[in-house]
Amino acid sequence: MGFFLIALPVIAVLLFMLFKNSIIQHTISLLTSSLLIIIAVYLTTDVMVLGSAHHTALGGIFYIDALSIIVLDIVILIGFMASIYSVSYMETEIKHGKIDRGRLRLYYILMYAFMFTMILALTVKNMGIMWIAIEATTLASAFLVGFYNDKYSLEAAWKYVLICSVGIAIALLGIIFLHLSSIGVLENNQFLDWIALYNNAESLKSPIVKLAFIFILIGFGTKAGLAPMHTWLPDAHSQAPSPISALLSGVLLNSAMYGIIRTVAVVNRNLGSSIYTGRLLIALGILSILTAAIFILTQKDYKRLLAYSSIEHMGIIAVAMGVFTPLSVFGALLHMINHSLTKAMLFLASGNILQKYNTKQISEIKAILKLLPISGTVFLLGLFAIAGTPPFSVFASELSIMVSLFTAKKFVVGGALALLLAIIFAGIAVTLFKMFYGNNQEEELQPGETNKAGTIVIVVLFLVISISGLFIPDELKNLITQAQNIIIGA
């Protein structure tokens, strides 16, 4: 069953190459993403019952445990939402003459190649192959970022490929050092195997492991959008088509963060404490949140603002991983889920706004609530949610991270985090809320939603984040606790 998870996107890519008719292409896309959901549900129950899922194919490199299934479920869920949203979104883009019909095929091929690389990164236990898959995510999504082929999107795509490839090359150096530290400890066929590394963590050579961690943190941190390596992120997120922005922000950043979390688990076990990794992660995390706060306050483009908000939330996750108590790791994983769903919803809603107003400038947009009654309302409430207002889910996870900071007696970090979150809330309020009121000067804009199916997706996501802020199902709680035990090693 797990094998189909990897095979399905590949089959989809091959089918897209065969069929030129766009109705068939939309159908293939919807079918594939629904099948992926079914497989994901099956695998999740598997992991919940058995603890992990092994597969014997290709020398047993496939391995899924509670930590990977959480990130994997986010990938597949947001992929499904994006595929529904894409149908009408891309048709509208074709109608407006932004792209021609032939490029729809390229879009789907690249989108499913992108999905494939992310799924691969999350289902292997070999750190080397995980690196290969994460590097491949950049290559698969490069042309999606540069999809509109104009000056702006090409610039964003070039920056994206170059900065991320170099960053990830540095992560490879870290993985080489990790490999070096395990020579003499592991058998030949266990090299770079995460489980073997983790089980034998105490006997790895600590000085090299420390060196490896710095390189891996910088490398995967580039991909996860941690400051000061974040410069590609606002460009890529703002220039990509909106469903792709949702995938980039909600999914890609998590996959890179997943690589960091796996390494942190090994390194902390090797060193016997979390002080070393904790200092680095908290420093980078706070720096990311600070950078995001400054740029959010002065932002003029709403998609870029959402991108900076992603940097902020990746920073929060990094800080929580740095604290490394059971509560903070729980908060980090929960925050990963909540941020992904909320941010995907906001990016999809911003796609509706972009297609209605045809501009990304905040100052040129007025009266969203009149013109787009449903997605406008959801966008407004979503902004409250992402800024951390109760009763939404982001508030719940931010609160647990905050509590964990103070119970770990990290008062300075906790205070700084609270202050910066307040500044970001104010920044979002000051810059974005003027979009919702006033009257639109241009008479030709008609009120009403264009992307019906997409709007339903947005509303469903909104309901999910509202309900999960008040109540987390026991199954999810158990799954996160399982993942937390894997990381901390209880």
């Binding site: 192959i129 290969i132 090409l154 610039e155 795509a157 090359a169 150096l173 020579i183 090299f191 050579k205």
Partner: protein
């Protein structure tokens, strides 16, 4: 044997110095070809050693792949892309060459002192091979910063990749085979993606000067 690898690693480091001193985009490609050839030589000798000692063929396969990809295929398509895109001769580097070379020397010294303090890499004496190959990575990174044209950045990226490969080879006798193959697949794709992008940038901006890419800020 180890003194032979020592001298090869020094030659590889030297080739990245030569790259830094190059003025023309065309000679970047030639120097890259030369450096890849040196790496293929090192991999070939190591491959023969592993066959006779352990009976493994994988390092020799990797050597063959380096010759096909890095010595022949990638330099060829880069020369083609360059011939299409380059019709104006522009000054490419930001600082002048003596300063660039001095910075490179500093990078090597920096690597030497930072790796000298780490136990586990050095068994009693400092491992010159690892110091040299990590320096190649840093010089590749600096090369990317110091050039303005897209082609310089691609070559810089490939030199980083070369440095990573030699680091892996000298420090760990090569990564697991499946990982090596995967890295090659990624590299081929990366070169193709970057090549197509250079072509598109040249079309839209009428130049491959990266300075022109400055619309997105803030």
């Amino acid at each position: 044997m180890s003194s032979f690898f020592d001298s090869l690693s020094i030659l590889i480091l030297l080739s990245s110095f030569i790259l830094m001193a190059n003025k023309m985009s065309k000679s970047y490609i030639k120097t890259f070809r030369f450096q890849s050839f040196l790496i293929a030589l090192a991999a070939g000798i190591m491959g023969i050693k592993t066959i006779t000692e352990e009976g493994r063929f994988d390092v020799l396969v990797v050597c063959l792949l380096i010759i096909i990809l890095k010595v022949i295929w990638i330099p060829n398509i880069l020369s083609k892309a360059y011939a299409k895109a380059e019709y104006k001769v522009e000054k490419d580097f930001i600082l002048n060459i003596p300063i660039l070379i001095l910075v490179c020397c500093t990078l090597v010294v920096f690597t030497y002192f930072s790796l000298a303090t780490i136990e586990g890499i050095n068994d009693g004496m400092i491992n010159v091979q690892v110091v040299n190959s990590v320096s190649v990575i840093l010089i590749g990174l600096f090369f990317m910063i110091s050039r303005r044209k897209a082609i310089g950045q691609i070559i810089g990226f490939l030199v980083i990749e070369n440095g990573l490969f030699v680091t892996a080879m000298f420090s760990t006798q090569g990564m697991p085979f499946i990982v090596d193959i995967g890295i090659f697949v990624d590299m081929i794709t990366a070169v193709m993606v970057l090549g197509i992008m250079v072509f598109k940038i040249n079309e839209k901006f009428e130049s491959i000067n990266i300075d022109k890419l400055s619309n997105l800020k803030g």
